[in-house]
């Protein structure tokens, strides 16, 4: 089962009243909410007429004025959402900064902003899944290296040891940390995607109509305005900052993540073989060699081990690790730092911008809500 896309939500195809109706279903819901407000005010007016209460008449008239203002807001907000729902990446960011296509995630100049924002989280999620898979492949390799146990005791004198465990154990620890950090970053990233999809659906369909309804009456006007303010922040600011973050990390003009991704692609690709391309360092070549012909080398190094207890280990290390040492060490470390950048640092920046906008908007529409406490989520 797949999440509905933002495009489907704002186009109304995933709405209550079937597809092809655009935002009309949501606007109709808001209109119905205001209609209920009108009915209630009409009843109050009748009540005032029946009991000849001038004060109630005046109250209803002032409420009708606020109702009118609220009614103007419906086409304004939904119109703005409609306008933004047709806004494409080509009109929002410079052409050089449009991230492009990766796998099933297609982002080009025609991609809608609402979809592009979701694509950022999907693409980060895909990357993180790839890193986790890579982690398992490397872990398997490292685990096998760690458990190599040469028996070097000719005629009963000698030793049985696991010399590679000293090198592989810290790397296994790194891989474990990488998994933990990635899992957490993956959860945070996916949570942002779900919050985004939820906020589009919920604020368009439920909270905005409720906000319009509540804003029509004096006791609940501030609450309604606040809900509307937060809704506007979710509908406009959240997609905008997510899209901008997308361009920062994934634009071909050179987000630093692109370089990292290119390096991983080269290192993990099948085309890289240290025998044919010695200048390029890659993992798969070593991995392949480890399983094919390297056991003869290991056999030779066993003789070395018998001959020179520690000195002979060098052949074993050279055969199994070689110039992979830096890569094996730095891979998990660098993935952790990336997971931290995408999963913690950037969301923290975005939360600050978002909360400030939501705070100002809620204050403008109704009452100031302490959304800055959301920064505690960091």
């Amino acid at each position: 089962m797949q999440l509905i896309t933002p495009g489907e939500i704002v186009s109304g195809s995933a709405g209550l009243f079937g597809s092809g109706l655009g935002l009309w279903p949501y606007a109709i819901l808001s209109g119905l909410a205001l209609g209920v407000s009108v009915v209630i005010l009409a009843v109050m007016y009748l009540w005032g007429t029946l009991f000849r209460n001038a004060q109630m008449h005046a109250f209803v008239k002032s409420e009708m004025y606020e109702l009118g203002i609220t009614a103007i807001m419906i086409p304004m907000i939904y119109g703005a959402v409609m306008a933004m729902s047709t806004l494409t990446m080509g009109s929002f960011v410079p052409a050089d900064l449009i991230p492009g296509t990766s796998g099933t995630v297609v982002t080009n100049s025609n991609t809608l902003i609402y979809d592009a924002a979701a694509q950022f989280y999907q693409r980060a999620e895909n990357d993180m899944s790839g890193w986790l898979e890579m982690n398992y492949i490397i872990n398997m390799y490292v685990d096998q290296i760690a458990s190599v146990t040469p028996y070097a005791r000719p005629l009963g004198v000698g030793l049985v040891a696991s010399p590679m465990a000293g090198l592989a154990s810290p790397i296994k620890q790194l891989l474990y940390q990488m998994t933990s950090a990635l899992a957490l970053a993956f959860v945070i990233n996916h949570a942002q995607l779900v919050v985004y999809i939820f906020s589009l659906q919920a604020f368009l369909k439920y909270y905005l109509p409720i906000g319009f309804f509540l804003r029509a009456f004096t006791p609940t006007r501030r609450l309604g305005g606040t809900i509307m303010g937060v809704a506007v922040a979710f509908l406009f600011v959240f997609p905008a900052i997510s899209t901008i973050t997308y361009t920062m990390f994934y634009s071909p003009a050179g987000g630093p993540l692109v370089t990292f991704r290119a390096m991983l692609t080269q290192y993990m690709s099948d085309g890289c073989d240290p025998n044919t391309a010695p200048d390029q360092v890659c993992f798969t070549g070593h991995f392949r060699r480890f399983y094919s012909s390297n056991f003869t080398g290991i056999g030779g190094s066993l003789i070395d081990l018998i001959g020179g207890a520690v000195g002979g280990l060098g052949s074993l290390f050279q055969n199994l690790i070689g110039n992979m040492m830096l890569m094996l060490m730095l891979f998990p470390i660098s993935v952790v730092s990336w997971a931290f950048a995408i999963g913690f640092i950037v969301p923290a920046f975005n939360v600050i911008i978002f909360t400030q906008a939501a705070k100002a908007l809620s204050k403008s529409f109704g009452d100031e809500v302490d959304v800055s406490s959301l920064t505690r989520m960091i």
């Binding site: 004198v157 950048a341 600050i352």
Partner: protein, 412 residues
Amino acid sequence: MMKMHALALLSIVLLLGASAYAADDGSLSGFFNNTSTMITGQGNNFIDAAGAAGQVAPTTFSSVYDAFGPGNCGDYWISAVGGASTIIGVWYIPSIAVVFIVLIGLALVYMWGQVFNSPQMIALAKDEFFQTFLTVMRVVFLIGMLSAGEVWYSLRATDTGDRIYNNLNNKNMIDSASAFARMMVSDMVQHYSMLVMYNMVIHTLYSSTMWVGVTWRAMYSFNLGPVLKPLIDIVGSALQFLSLGISEWMLHIVTLCLIKKWTWGLFIPMSMLLRAFPYTRAAGEALFALVFALALFYPFMFIFDYEVHKIMKYNLVDAQKAMSTFLHKSGIMSLFGSVLVMMFLMAGVFMPFFLGGALNLAFELIRGSVYYIVIISIFLPFINIFVTLTAAKEIANFFRVDVNFMSFLKII
């Protein structure tokens, strides 16, 4: 009885044969030399931005370091070649266009206010004009502050003979800050590598079951696990924390890269844009404050850290030299397996090796690790982030925005 003697004689001959096989005692030192040379070379290229990831984005990678080199971040700063025109073309023109649209809108509001004689509208238009003026002033102030910082940096750093300051690839203060971050990653990776190498040697002895006996029926085995376990544990802990330190400094590189690449290209225009509308003015102010702090204070704190490190590093032993000396001069590599086992049976051989070489080296390496973990990865970054966020908070207060930047401290 004769048979037993013959068997014993045969054993001795075979053992001598094994030693005569000429124990490849150079292979581990060869591996060590190759690996440490490779790590040093690639680390130096990384610090000097001289490798594949120099000032352009690399297409082929010879080292994991390349993904963290200046690469795409090399050319993006206001004074860098080709940077300014791109930035002005892609972001400032739209931002200025939006500001002009806002100004035209305000002019309309003002005229509307005059026509309908509404003092409220006139006041609103005037206030918004003033806010637009303030936005421009803020950008001018930021440019002035950053220029002053760059002038200070160039006066302070020129002709110092310093590796980072005198590197032509480091044009601005933020380039030097990145170079220092790369240096820390490289230093910590070297230290980490030496600890791994050391762990490798000690772990071999730690995990060994050593066998002594003539036949498979009458044998004696022992291992040195219990005595070496504390050493293995402390080295393991040092490795674990050091890896976190490396990860943290890589994150600093990424953060500096993002700041350098997007301050002029995105953050400032976006702040201008957000500040142009009353509803998003607070968000614009918050972003302005953050940009002030990140573009000026954050890189400056790295220069400060570099100066501290230049003094402090003399207290550290050169990990590569120490490890090389241990491997080449302890004699452990020159022994063949069978003799090693018999020698370890005698405390007179084991104790000098263990106390004189292995233990001393372990503590020297751990001393270095503590410095890189506690000072470089915890204390200095804490000060850096604290100063940066406090600056952002104070600037935000000055702009009259209440932003809870201190939540970032929890990240530490």
